[in-house]
């Protein structure tokens, strides 16, 4: 890049200051298995933690230990996959049973509601005095208009529920990367800093891919406006496997030791869980910072 940039801290356990090396094949295979089990609804929290530990070991150069962890996961995976399959079957049966029970209970309630409500009411209010009323309705669930509105709501709810269960439509899959200010919140970003002044930011990654995903964040500092993915080696690499719906916030500190306008770019990559190749997600964040001589 031709820029003199000094990096202060290596920010988290899974951050490395060089371009990410290709992880061991067994680790990628273990990730693929765990991601597939997670996609089927299995609880893979512990396995993902182990995989992240293996990634850390890989970055620390302890490949043998990392491969050992990956192999242990590969040994556990088939049994866990079978458990998930059995659980899905049980859930399907439970769905049908619950639905049948609900329909049966509602039908019975509808057929016997006069006897049920009448006798209960007579038991509790039988001794009260009856007089002519003023004609002002007080019932909520006995009012025909209310019941019409409720029927409408039930129909809409039932249609959505049926469509959801028949088509198996899942939530939109996406991932996201964000840059947070020094306070760990959106805003307060530095726009102008002195040379050698520390810039403290946070990188945020969010996984909404409905399965565990191995994310890799490349941090570049450049002074050109080339659209990502940027060529060359990144200044920093963060990587971690995130569970579905998990958010990861990692601190980022750096200093610029030259004056000028610099562009801090964070690119979000991921290991595709299906073909285990590193793929650019198309998402990035950037921050322009002016480094002044003062």
């Amino acid at each position: 890049m031709g820029l003199a940039v000094l990096v202060l801290a290596a920010l988290s356990l899974v951050t490395v200051a060089v371009e990410a090396q290709q992880p061991p094949r067994s680790l990628l295979l273990a990730y693929g298995n765990v991601s597939a089990i997670g996609a089927e609804g299995g609880n893979v929290t512990g396995l993902v933690a182990t995989l992240n530990e293996a990634i850390n070991l890989t970055e620390a150069g302890q490949y043998d230990n990392a491969v050992g962890l990956a192999l242990s996961i590969l040994n556990q995976a088939p049994a866990l996959a079978r458990q998930v399959e059995q659980r899905r079957l049980i859930e399907a049966v439970a769905y049908v049973a619950l639905g049948a029970l609900a329909v049966g209970a509602l039908t019975l309630l509808y057929l016997r509601h006069r006897e049920l409500v009448g006798s209960l009411w007579l038991r509790f209010r039988g001794g009260d005095r009856v007089t002519l009323g003023g004609g002002r309705a007080r019932g909520f669930l006995t009012d025909s208009e209310i019941l019409a509105v409720l029927t409408g709501l039930v129909i809409v709810f039932a249609v959505f529920l049926a469509a959801h269960s028949l088509t198996g439509v899942e939530a939109t899959q996406f991932s996201a990367i964000g840059l947070l200010g020094p306070g760990g919140r959106i805003g307060g970003y530095p726009t102008s800093v002195a040379v050698n002044q520390t810039i403290n930011l946070y990188v945020l990654v969010y996984n909404h891919m409905n399965r565990p995903i191995w994310f890799v964040v490349y941090i570049y500092v450049t002074n050109n406006t080339t659209p990502p993915p940027l060529p060359g080696s990144p200044l920093l690499t963060y990587q971690r496997i995130l569970l579905s719906n998990e958010t990861w916030v990692a601190p980022l500190s750096l200093r610029l030791n030259e004056t000028g306008d610099f562009r801090l770019v964070g690119e979000l990559w991921m290991y595709n869980p299906l073909n285990l190749t590193l793929t650019y997600t198309g998402e990035y964040v950037q921050l322009w910072v002016n480094a002044t001589g003062g």
């Binding site: 609804g41 859930e91 439970a94 769905y95 619950l98 509601h113 006069r114 006897e115 049920l116 409500v117 009448g118 006798s119 009411w121 007579l122 509790f124 209010r125 039988g126 001794g127 009260d128 005095r129 009856v130 007089t131 002519l132 009323g133 003023g134 004609g135 002002r136 309705a137 007080r138 019932g139 909520f140 006995t142 009012d143 208009e145 209310i146 509105v149 709810f157 529920l161």
Partner: protein, 176 residues
């Protein structure tokens, strides 16, 4: 004439089961065609322990069930129940509890007005809860939202129950 006597007479003359007649009398009371009166209840405890207080316990149970389901159910066959109770606790219960607290007697508003106001007030109040949460250290997240919404609903339901109890402890002549 008591309810029992009325039901007995109509049941005998019409040849219908007592429970059916009781159900029709119940509907006539709900439509405002009949009044059902009993001795004034002395205090709020008696009100909550009486059949009139069942309303409070049922709405409280729905609110607490929503809280439990939202906190505990993260997937599986109970998810539709989470959707349903979650929607009720956000879109209906806060406004309903306000309406009940403001109009505790029961016949001040038509049922449809009560429903419309319940939904409308819920839509107005819940964002305000979010606005307040935004300025707290907890922020707008699931658990603070659920807890504050539940606490607000229970507080308003309790106010409504106390006002209903006060009404129930007053001789009805005061309101005629």
């Amino acid at each position: 004439m008591t309810v029992n006597q009325l039901v007995e007479v109509v049941s005998r003359e019409a040849g219908l089961p007592r429970s059916w007649v009781a159900y029709e009398v119940y509907l006539m009371w709900k439509r405002g065609e009949l009044n059902i009166e009993h001795e004034p209840l002395e205090n709020a405890v008696m009100f909550l322990a009486s059949v009139d207080g069942v309303w409070y316990w049922v709405t409280l149970a729905i609110t607490l069930a929503s809280l439990a389901v939202v906190m505990l159910v993260k997937g599986g066959p109970l998810m539709p129940i989470r959707y349903l109770l979650g929607a009720v606790s956000v879109l209906f219960m806060p406004g309903y509890s306000i309406v009940e607290a403001l109009y505790p007697r029961g016949d001040e508003l038509a049922p449809l007005e009560r429903l419309a106001l319940s939904i409308g007030l819920s839509l107005a109040v819940v964002p305000l809860v979010g606005l307040i949460l935004n300025y707290t250290p907890w922020g707008i997240r699931l658990i603070p939202i659920v807890i504050s919404n539940t606490a607000l609903t229970i507080a308003l339901l309790t106010v409504a129950a106390l006002r209903k109890a006060r009404y129930a402890s007053t001789p009805k002549d005061c309101f005629t």
